[in-house]
Amino acid sequence: MAKKKRIELMVCAGTGCVAGGAFQIMEELKKELKARGLKDEVPVVATGCNGFCGQGPLMVVIPDNIFYGWLTLEEIPHLVEEHFLKGRPVQKLMFTPPEEKRPIPLLSNIPFFEKQVLVVLKNKGIIDPEKIGDYMARDGYVALEKALFSMKPGDVVDEIMKSGLRGRGGAGFPTGRKWQLTRQQERTPKYLIANCDEGDPGAYMDRSVLESDPHSIIEGMLIAAYGIGSSNGFIYVRSEYPLAIERMETAISQAREYGLLGKDILESGFDFDIEIREGSGAFVCGEESSLIHSIEGDIPEPRQRPPFPAQSGLWGFPTLINNVETLANVPAIIAKGAGWYSSIGTETSKGTKIFSLVGKINNTGLVEVPMGITLREVIYEIGGGIPGGKEFKAVQTGGPSGGCIPVAMLDSPIDYESLTKAGSMMGSGGMIVMDEDTCVVDVSKFFIQFTNDESCGKCVSCRDGSDAILEVLTRISGGTGKEEDIDFLTELGQTVKDASMCGLGQTLPNPVLSTLRYFKDEYEAHIKEKRCPALVCKHLIRYYIDPDKCVGCLKCLKICPVSAIQGELKYVHIIDQDKCTKCGQCLEVCPPKVTAVSKVSGNDMESLEQLPQIIPCAERKKK
């Protein structure tokens, strides 16, 4: 007789952990469990993204709720033997906060998880996203049943309106109003599109929802379609998300099999079905009118609005287009009511928001927090602060369309209005943390490079404007900036905002404008003093070997890929600045006790002593 299940191993199989070898870890676990006769007692479950991506590959041991991270294949036999056979949890695989010695065994006690409020991600790590039964067990499709059998379509739209839900894709348009506008249209057919064209660098909220809980999107879409009177839906997702697409396809075919998609759903008379459309990763396709063109098979360029998609969208018919995270909020709102939902968050921003917390942060990962939480709480309490004892400099929210928020504004609440007031935006939820070693000119250049590449080219202001901004930024970081560049960037940025048709052009100057607002002195240092304060811009820095500190160990000389370092054993080394490519390897290998190599910028580059030729270290000491 098969043994009863007593433990479940919830192994994260989100894209991040899969890239880290989660599938191999699962195979190894199964093999080791089988070898010890524990196969039935201790099943292994593949879940969606757990969220604590910085610790991946990872797993959670149910029912004790013990969290294990940074798993390796070599550790598995020991883990299985100790914990699952002999009952002794393995401390060294548990999470230990940086700077601390004691591990935190239980997931629920880890600060990263403690402060989160899960609405959209309530099933993450608990269900197997490929099993419709797992979703149902967590009250999945309860909201659909409620909508179909005890609410009229108009009631559904009213409920969403009352909840205060706003679009999670960036702009924050009230979702209920969009639904109502589409519902009011008399022409049919009506279409429903879930926008999962997630393109911001460093952002992966939507992908995770698709991967960890695909049925929540199907249910959200079913309810939306019922509300607006649509029977055809599309999920638009980029083809770079193969795992998300695969899980979504599995979920759709299961829902069809059980009659939750198709004709006469749950014998209610309501028909609805979903098709997946894969995009090829053009950033502009996240803009709704471009996305619609892409589904139609046309060139993805935005068009002038009005008419809005609600009036004339896909193939000219009324179309509701919502972000994936927005739709994933819908089942909870219908099941628990608008009153419950609107009790979470602030006056104008209701509910929760998922952020991908990346960059210079200890706890990299995906977090769901109530609106109104402060940036400081997210970065320091959930994110665990900045690694290596560095200073926080800024947080970039909203991706290439957003801006950088400085330390002085860390206590401002996270909601649509506050972020916009700070010169940034909610965006889709990317949160890139920057420390003192980040140069704002360099960061702005990176984002403008991105939007410049992704501009579809339809509007002159966006196409040529981004070219011009990029040119000026390149000049500034290259040390040939002019004093008038700052005013020029401000004026040009504003013009690009005003004159561009779609969101891409209207927001692309934000990274530049926000950094000019908060870090103008750094731009000035680049231009006037030819100095990069963060020591990042290659043209403005030099590597320097301090003759008083160098012990002549040859380490830097040997590692230099372009043989730019002269020296001999116990002779002070010198860097030939004409040959140096500024790769920085000399700085990395210089022993911590010596620290002779440093980066310098501005006046220091000229004022520091340059030896004309190598001399013995001993001779230098005598002097």
Binding site: K3, K4, K5, R6, I7, E8, M10, E41, I62, P63, D64, N65, L85, K86, G87, R88, R102, I126, I127, G133, D134, M136, A137, R138, D139, G140, Y141, V142, E145, F149, E257, Y258, G259, L260, G262, D264, L266, E267
Partner: protein, 127 residues
């Protein structure tokens, strides 16, 4: 698979809920079996199987069943620790499947400690 009706979906949901009860974490108490080498040699796995079997048969989903290592009292193995609600943990020793069932009936379900098998109240301090 035929298409679901509302009634069938409810049944499917209930069945899945039972299957997933371990993950919900709504436990009012805990049974911990000591699975050190001494425990295993003395028959701890048999005790464990008895509990798992009975939990399943009786549909008990509000008690967490888990394991730990040797408690240091190797001569009293097989041992379990029972923690119900806020009451201090109770350790039982020299168990047999019959004794385990009695503990299940009287202590875990009935809420009254089985004095004759108990070897101590409280738990060793960790750390």
């Amino acid at each position: 698979m035929p298409k679901l009706t509302v009634h069938e979906m409810k049944k499917m949901r209930e069945a899945s809920k039972k299957e997933m009860s371990l993950r919900e974490g709504n436990f009012r108490g805990k049974v911990i079996v000591h699975l050190g080498t001494c425990g295993i040699a003395a028959g701890a796995r048999e005790i464990m199987d008895t509990f798992l079997e009975e939990f399943d048969n009786r549909d008990i989903t509000d008690i967490m069943f888990t394991s730990t290592g040797c408690a240091g009292l190797c001569s009293k193995e097989p041992m379990i620790t029972v923690e119900i609600g806020e009451s201090p943990p109770v350790k039982y020793g020299k168990l047999t499947p019959e004794k385990a069932i009695k503990i299940l009936d009287e202590h875990i379900i009935g809420g009254k400690m089985v004095d004759e098998f108990a070897i101590g109240i409280g738990s060793e301090r960790v750390g």
